[in-house]
Symmetry: C2
DNA sequence: GTATTAATAAAACGAACGTTCAATTAATTC
DNA sequence: GAATTAATTGAACGTTCGTTTTATTAATAC
């Protein structure tokens, strides 16, 4: 056999990406074999190599897409200039809310991006870390502005930014949609905790 | 050749554990081979199996030791009954400080325990998770007490406990001892942030 | 100093791994 | 409807993996 009826490159690549996110999130990147992935997609192992030159290139593509979407998501959610919510407190609120919702909607991709960095070559790792640093820079600038304007009480901006990022990303470790709290409640809770954390007025 | 001069089971096992923590933290559990580990210890691969029946049993032993030490560490650091620091605020302060210092002193073991859980069989996983839950229960009980006494302002104890754990464990992701801040400064910073987070008076 | 036990080496097992290559068929273009 | 391109299969490659078995030597006990 060879090409199958109805086969479509775009759809196959999308299916590979989705199946890979699921398998890597569950088993880990090193533990997932290309044969497993192919079987999950319903394709022979060799077919994967039409879309990704190596296993590592696949991982890199997944992380790149995740980071670019995250940054784009914040670009759209960020309050417009001149609006009332352009003040530091409003920007921070939006940042936390967008972050929580984005990550809850993409648990697999988040797990992959957070847990599998060490499987990247140094060159690819640097690119992903640069994007991550760009995103975190947005938070740092919010904190810096709030500190300058006297609405936040922050000892160390860089440390506080890391603490907030760790705290709000950690939601995917324990949150299960079928449980007690709704996504809205969780987002509201993290918002409150973040505002207290930076010493902002309620 | 066979038994080497000066060989000692206890020392060899300790050397295996230390080398394994280092390799797994750097490469990941699945990516580390038993041959690599043996070479790092300075021993033949077969020798490893005198101390650990399987690769997974080795991982489990490392995590078990880490969790038991963590719980023991808190058992020693916890304020004595009747002391001034037995109040919720004092207990929380001690909990955060002990957690930060313990994890900074054992970065490799922390990385292994946090990142490699999915490589455990379900039976072994349950045991580790039970210990983890026991430790987190200590934090939850501090928060509950503070909430009851009205010294903490907390919307949801379980959620807040997870947020704090994620935040303070995250220190090992970014902190580098050679950089800007000292361990004392970092611990003090996390203490301040935690107190604000739970709405405690300064 | 002999017997026993502890600690390791050396070699090998089958299985699984990532990846490549040639052949084959479906879809598209003209 | 012939020529071209896109998508995939099937088979195979050399390598590495976790683990086991057997033999051998060092340390210990009597």
């Amino acid at each position: 056999m060879a090409r199958t009826t109805g086969s479509d490159g775009e759809k196959t690549e999308a299916a590979i990406r989705e199946a890979a996110l699921d398998l890597i999130a569950r088993l880990g990147f090193e533990a997932m074999s290309m044969r497993q992935l192919a079987a999950s997609v319903g394709v022979q192992p060799a077919a994967l190599y039409r879309y990704f030159t190596t296993k590592e290139a696949l991982l890199h593509a997944l992380m790149l897409e995740h980071m670019e979407r995250l940054i784009a998501s914040w670009g759209e959610a960020r309050p417009a200039r001149g609006s009332d919510k352009e003040k530091p407190a409003g920007r921070l609120a939006k940042f936390v809310e967008n972050h929580i919702r984005f990550h809850l909607a993409r648990r697999n991709a988040t797990h992959v991006s957070n847990l599998e960095l060490r499987s990247l070559s140094s060159e690819r790792l640097e690119q992903i870390l640069a994007l991550r640093s760009q995103y975190e820079g947005e938070l740092r600038s919010i904190l810096t502005d709030g500190q300058r304007e006297g609405v936040f009480q922050i000892d160390d901006v860089a440390l506080t930014a890391m603490a907030i990022i760790q705290m709000i990303t950690g939601v995917i470790v324990w949150f299960r949609p079928e449980l007690r709290l709704s996504e809205d409640e969780v987002a509201a809770n993290y918002h409150t905790m973040t505002m207290r954390l930076v010493g902002a007025e309620a």
